[in-house]
């Protein structure tokens, strides 16, 4: 199905937009940037210090890890003077007609935490005045817990790690399609403007050329998805480390990840073929409105996102079988509900057939578009070419 020439074109196209050195440098830069952010937030974290707070004698506040509350015998004016001159206090709290006032030198992040401690203290005091004990106050402060039990055992639940995987899959597909969009448009229209097309089509058939382009840019898109996926995992790991939590990847459903690969690959190839057909009909990208049509390929993700909270509903089921949307919908559905084995298999087969048809359409549109010599074809002509059988 794929000729040697197509593979040579694919290899060339992939490497045209892929430079090892630059790629490695960008990875290193990314790690450096994340490291710098982590270090910066660690060293500027004020919550790890202890702050001395002068409070009125009548305020019976318990010390916390962050705040030491002291009740100095000197008057407030002297406390404020001490704060200005020798850093005896980080803040001085006074009370005026039932209102607390925090005096400090300048704005600091820890002041928010201090306010929170003071508010908690005041809530407790108010509760005591109302005759509520600590337990009653605690109950009052707790939100009502409403849990939903799903009778459908295939549904894995709302706001679960599975939904995170589904969202991640959609984000990655979006990244992949955006990459393919840019590269396919640049590559095909650029080649036309650089006058390479006529030379190449004397060597390879329009179908071989289009197959190579689509494959090359699909691999670039997959590479971008892989990079983004790794970055997501890296960020998760770094955040876990700095939050002093164990790195837990048990939520990563390997079965869904493995299914995502064929769906993503076929989906990207399908969309890249469609983009290739549109790009092949564009003569001058600066003066053509056709490139906007290529954004249609983002619709499957948008439609899927809109029904993500009803993974077993008719909307998601429909999307997961229609080949134009199944590459986005089926992995999401699989992440959130258990589906019978034949569903993803059928979905992949339908998608495969559509990919085959779409690549033929792209080849035909390219062949006929090339013969227009500077004249951009109308939509009617493109549709006619797409439905014709001429490939040479």
């Amino acid at each position: 199905m794929i000729s040697r020439q197509s593979l040579i074109v694919a290899h060339w196209e992939f490497l045209r937009f892929f430079k090892w050195k630059q790629q490695l440098i960008s990875y290193l830069l990314m790690i450096c940037v994340m490291g710098a952010i982590a270090l910066w937030s660690y060293f500027t974290d004020e919550s790890r210090q202890t702050y001395r707070i002068a409070v009125p004698v009548e305020l019976t506040l318990a010390n916390t890890e962050q705040f030491q509350f002291q009740r100095p015998s000197i008057n407030v004016a002297d406390q404020l003077a001490q704060m200005r001159t020798d850093d005896s206090w980080h803040a001085v709290v006074t009370e005026d007609q039932g209102q607390l006032i925090v005096h400090t030198l300048t704005g600091k992040k820890w002041l928010t935490q201090l306010e929170s401690v003071l508010q908690q203290h005041y809530r407790q005091q108010t509760a005591e005045k109302m005759g509520l004990n600590a337990e009653q106050l605690n109950q009052l402060e707790q939100p009502v817990t409403i849990s939903t039990r799903y009778l459908d055992e295939s549904y894995k639940g709302k706001d679960t790690p599975e939904k995170m995987i589904a969202m991640g899959a959609l984000i990655l597909l979006f990244v992949g399609l955006t990459t393919a969009f840019g590269q396919v448009l640049t590559s095909i229209t650029g080649e036309k403007q650089q006058r390479v097309t006529e030379q190449l089509t004397a060597i390879v058939t329009p179908q071989q050329w289009m197959d190579g382009k689509v494959l090359g840019h699909s691999f670039s898109a997959l590479k971008a998805m892989l990079t983004s996926g790794l970055v997501m995992l890296l960020v998760y790991t770094v955040v876990s480390v700095f939050a002093k939590k164990a790195v837990d990847l048990s939520w990563l459903n390997i079965s869904v990840v493995l299914w995502l690969i064929p769906f993503a690959l076929l989906g990207i190839v399908l969309c890249a073929s469609f983009m290739g057909a549109i790009a092949a009909s564009i003569d001058d990208p600066n003066n053509s409105g056709k490139s906007a049509v290529m954004m249609i390929t983002w619709l499957p993700m948008v439609f899927t996102f809109l029904v993500i909270d009803s993974p077993a509903g008719w909307g998601m089921t429909l999307l997961s079988f229609i080949p134009l949307t199944s590459f986005a919908a089926m992995p999401v559905k699989m992440a959130m509900v258990t589906v019978p084995w034949w569903q993803p298999v059928l979905s992949v087969l339908l998608l495969l057939a559509t990919v085959y048809w779409m690549r033929r359409v792209a080849g035909r549109v390219f062949l006929r578009g090339m013969q227009m010599y500077g004249k951009e074809p109308s939509w009617g002509e493109i549709v006619r070419w797409a439905l014709s059988n001429k490939t040479e």
């Binding site: 040579i8 650089q194 006058r195 390479v196 006529e198 030379q199 190449l200 004397a202 060597i203 040479e392």
Partner: protein, 309 residues
């Protein structure tokens, strides 16, 4: 290989680009397609390359006892009129990519590349990006790209355009080398002096039709209006005396009693001499042949007076 084109026609919308054009090219020949812009040369080339199909007529190729109704891509090397390669890639990468697409192994591609880069003095610059080269050097790279895989048929659309006279001469040598290697070459060009040196056969076209065809000699014989004769007399003969003769169409005085005469249409040399002899004794009679440039202009004047003017 042998290429036989029979009565091909091609129309784009309401424009008839090529009308019933026929020609034959034998193995190892250099064949020139000549004509003004819009004559239909590039349309013929695009049909030969397979980018478009003729509306009528046929293209037949015979190669090593095999027969095809088109030019197979594997036999073809092509330099398009609208040319360009990847400006951000080096000469070597560009050429290697095209050679690999033509089916060459990396080793053979590198070997061929080394040969042709040396021919065009580009060996030292093989790692330079194409955009760093002058237009002339880019043209040379494009020429190399067309022949790297040793095709049986090389089609070159305007190979001399954009080149200075020195590089034009290099291209002449390049084409002679191709011929020596047994490749059949079709070229379209406006540089008549170059074509005259190279072409075994040529086809002069105007408005999609064949005006003249054959070898240079055959074309010279076909262009009756341009037959010129240098004559000398032993005594005084005036221009007006000569202009009165029905066999003479034009008179250009040279040195004393010597003239360049242009013969009238359909008048034989013998008839002309019969009319000249009564004037004085002839001391010199020399038939003049027009060069390709003159033939081309004369043919175009006949076909498209406004273009030639």
């Amino acid at each position: 290989m042998q290429l036989i084109v029979t009565a091909i026609s091609k129309a784009y919308a309401s424009v008839q680009a090529v009308k019933h054009v026929s020609f034959q090219i034998n193995s190892g020949e250099i064949f020139a397609l000549l004509g003004p812009n819009g004559a239909g040369k590039s349309s013929i080339i695009r049909m030969l390359v397979g980018m478009t199909q003729p509306d009528s007529g046929s293209i037949m190729v015979s190669y090593q006892q095999q027969h095809f109704d088109h030019v197979p891509r594997r036999l073809l090397g092509y330099l398009p009129e609208d040319r360009g390669l990847y400006p951000d890639k080096s000469i070597e990468k560009n050429l290697l990519y095209l050679a690999r697409l033509h089916g060459l192994s990396k080793a053979s591609a590198m070997q061929e590349m080394a040969h042709w880069l040396a021919v065009f003095d580009l060996t030292e610059r093989r790692h330079d990006e194409l955009k760093q080269l002058s237009k002339g050097n880019q043209q040379k790279v494009q020429l190399i790209a067309a022949v790297l895989h040793q095709p049986a048929l090389v089609i070159l659309d305007e190979p001399f355009s954009g080149l200075d006279p020195i590089n034009q001469e290099k291209v002449v040598l390049f084409l002679q080398q191709l011929k020596a290697k047994g490749m059949t070459v079709i070229l379209s060009a406006h540089q008549m002096a170059m074509v005259e040196k190279l072409a075994d056969h040529m086809l002069l076209m105007a408005q999609g039709q064949v005006v003249l065809a054959g070898t240079l000699q055959q074309i010279q014989q076909q262009s009756q209006p341009l037959r010129q004769m240098k004559v000398g007399f032993n005594s005084s003969v005036t221009v007006s005396q000569l202009q009165q003769l029905p066999a003479i169409n034009g008179v250009e005085p040279l040195q004393a009693n010597h003239f360049m005469l242009t013969l009238a249409d359909e008048v034989g040399v013998a008839d002309c001499l019969k009319q000249l002899m009564p004037l004085a004794e002839l001391t010199q009679v020399e038939m003049q042949t027009a060069d390709l440039h003159q033939l081309y202009l004369a043919a175009m004047t006949k076909q498209q007076p406004e273009v030639a003017a």
